[in-house]
């Protein structure tokens, strides 16, 4: 999979309440959730960003509750992946389980500025900063997790692999 998009940069400890505020949790509809994405961090975000763009976070991205609405709203908006220095554990699982690519790389986060154009070749584990002409090798996902992502998430993977 090749992902290409413009970067939007956020800081450390972006919690699930910032990603999707609790007041919107009365729905599980991805489009509805996506219309409030990152609202409490940047009210204009949904108007500025476009489908395909990439979110950049600092340490402990997605900390807080086990709510799956957080990665659902990011994916629902059409964000192509999140690159962070580190992810909170349950957010990491939830992202993989709904088939949403996330990448842990402190190096890329440090050297990327908001607005840079990145290209991510997930299978080969390569990230290119097109704007700056930089290239990084990232640790590929373990094959098992890659398989879940390729199948579009845990339930699809179960349907395709486990129940066949």
């Amino acid at each position: 999979m090749v992902l290409r998009g413009k970067c939007w940069k956020f800081g450390d400890n972006i919690d699930t309440d910032v990603i999707i505020p609790a007041r919107y949790l009365n729905t599980t509809n991805p489009n509805e959730l996506a219309s409030h994405l990152m609202e409490d961090a940047d009210k204009e975000f949904v108007n500025k960003a476009s489908a395909g763009d990439i979110l950049i976070g600092g340490n402990n991205f997605g900390c807080g509750s086990s709510r799956e609405h957080a990665p659902i709203s990011i994916k629902g908006f059409g964000i192509s992946c999140v690159i962070a220095k580190s992810f909170a554990r349950i957010f990491f699982r939830n992202a993989i389980n709904i088939g949403f690519p996330i990448i842990e790389s402190p190096e890329v986060v440090e050297e990327t500025d908001e607005g840079d154009e990145l290209e991510v070749i997930t299978k080969e584990g390569i990230i290119k900063n097109i704007t700056k002409g930089l290239e990084y090798n990232i640790k590929a996902f373990p094959p098992f997790l890659q398989e879940i992502i390729n199948n579009g998430g845990l339930m699809n993977w179960i349907a395709e692999v486990k129940l066949k």
Binding site: S65, R93, N97, L154, M155
Partner: protein, 419 residues
């Protein structure tokens, strides 16, 4: 090389003889848990798959505890979905209002979870059951749906941090103070992705309820799980309640830890975690002049019988400050009945406290004691995030039942010593 108790339990639930940290493995699960908030999403996912049966009707546990008794139409609808799913699939462990307790107190009490188990729950405080010598961790709703289908889940094997608590506990210091102190020391990210193994002479003599309190808050340090190796206290606790046969594992002498942290308990005083993070801890003796409006004694952290006894000991024959509302919530119906029998409820209501039936209630700002703008509460719960008990401009201070009861009498944060 030796293995930790966590690695041994995970290996025993996979097809592997030995496993190493960071390895990704597939494991069988003994129990899959969900509640009235997370299970509805899992049930929807399960039903989309179109399979007719759950993997094992005896291993799925559905606990509508957050808004019980149902606080509004929406919560009633969510529980209805659980109830109908439980009926359709003949789920053994579904408990409705009147029979239900807060999940993380109810499951150990009823012996539904036991030593050596591998447990996942769609609730971040599932880590509580580590106190029984089990591997237990919180996951999302899709994980729950997946495990309800296959009886399996995937894990990245966590590194373990060994905490060694030595010395003697000071008066009015409990498991709650130990875990608050620990989180204060390592921070809310201090154990991210890791298993927190609690050891040492202090843990060896700590009653089971307080071990459960400590493991409950492992997630508040970012931990994947908390665990206490089984011993005589574990065996005695499980003996007449475990509905399956427990398996007892111990860490090897040469097991590898990513970090070892020694904690001298003689220096630990009762702790208070200030808003808005559990790591903002202070010694209660350093706290002065924090007036409060409410006290909540309860939750999956500290609604145990022992907790109610401590609170009652302090409240007996006294009256709660006229400026404070004090709400006491036993975690399970059994604890409620025992409190009735021991005369604890008399003590609470005579002190002007409210005594509630078991519910998560105010812990997550659900119902039964929500804070208004600018109000402050001392709570024996586990999280003091912004808006956790109500208005975004309210404040929650975390403490033990002893500090909470003393504060209720004093009208401000107080040490039991002062009462």
């Amino acid at each position: 090389m030796g293995m930790t108790i966590t690695e041994k339990i995970l290996a025993a639930h996979s097809d592997l003889e030995t496993i190493e940290p960071d390895e990704i493995i597939e494991c069988d699960v003994d129990i899959v848990l969900g509640n009235d908030i997370t299970a509805p999403i899992a049930i929807n996912e399960f039903e989309k798959l179109g399979v007719n049966e759950v993997f094992d009707r005896e291993k799925i546990v559905l606990i509508p505890d957050h808004f019980t008794p149902n606080k509004d139409i929406k919560s009633a609808e969510q529980v209805k979905q659980l109830r109908e799913f439980a009926r359709k699939h003949n789920i053994k462990h579904f408990y409705d209002t009147g029979r239900v307790g807060i999940e993380h107190a109810f499951l150990p009490e009823q012996g539904i979870v036991t030593g050596g188990d591998c447990i996942i729950g769609a609730d971040s405080h599932t880590c509580t059951y580590g106190a029984l010598g089990a591997f237990a961790t919180g996951v999302g709703s899709t994980d729950m749906a997946g495990a309800m289908t296959t009886g399996e889940t995937w894990f990245k094997v966590p590194h373990s941090i060994k905490f060694i608590y030595y010395g003697k506990l000071n008066r009015w210091v409990f498991g709650k103070d130990l875990i608050l102190y620990t989180i204060g020391r390592i921070g809310v990210e201090g154990a991210r992705y890791k298993a927190m193994e609690f050891t040492g002479e202090v843990i060896s003599s700590l009653p089971m309820e307080q071990r459960l309190t400590m493991c409950n808050m492992a997630i508040e340090a970012g931990g994947k799980s908390g665990i206490v190796a089984p011993d005589k206290i574990t065996e005695d606790y499980l003996k007449d309640r475990s509905i399956r046969k427990p398996v007892f594992y111990q860490s090897d002498e040469d097991a590898e830890y990513i970090e070892e942290i020694e904690i001298d308990c003689e220096t630990i005083e009762p702790q208070v975690a200030f808003p808005h993070l559990p790591e903002n801890t202070k010694n209660v003796s350093e706290v002065s002049d924090v007036k409060i409006d409410q006290v909540v004694i309860g939750s999956c952290t500290n609604g145990w019988l022992g907790d109610l006894r401590i609170a009652a000991e302090i409240l007996k024959g006294r009256r709660i400050s006229p400026n404070v509302r004090c709400i006491v919530i036993p975690s399970t119906p059994e604890i409620y009945k025992q409190a009735l029998k021991e005369g604890l409820i008399d003590i609470f209501v005579n002190a002007d406290a409210v005594f509630s039936t078991p519910t998560c209630g105010p812990c997550l700002g659900g119902h039964m004691g929500i804070l208004a703008e600018g109000e402050r509460a001392v709570a024996t719960t586990n999280r003091n995030f912004v808006g956790r008990m109500g208005h975004p401009k309210s404040e929650v201070y975390l403490a033990s039942p002893a500090v909470a009861a003393a504060s209720a009498i004093a009208g401000g944060i107080a040490s039991p010593e002062e009462i």
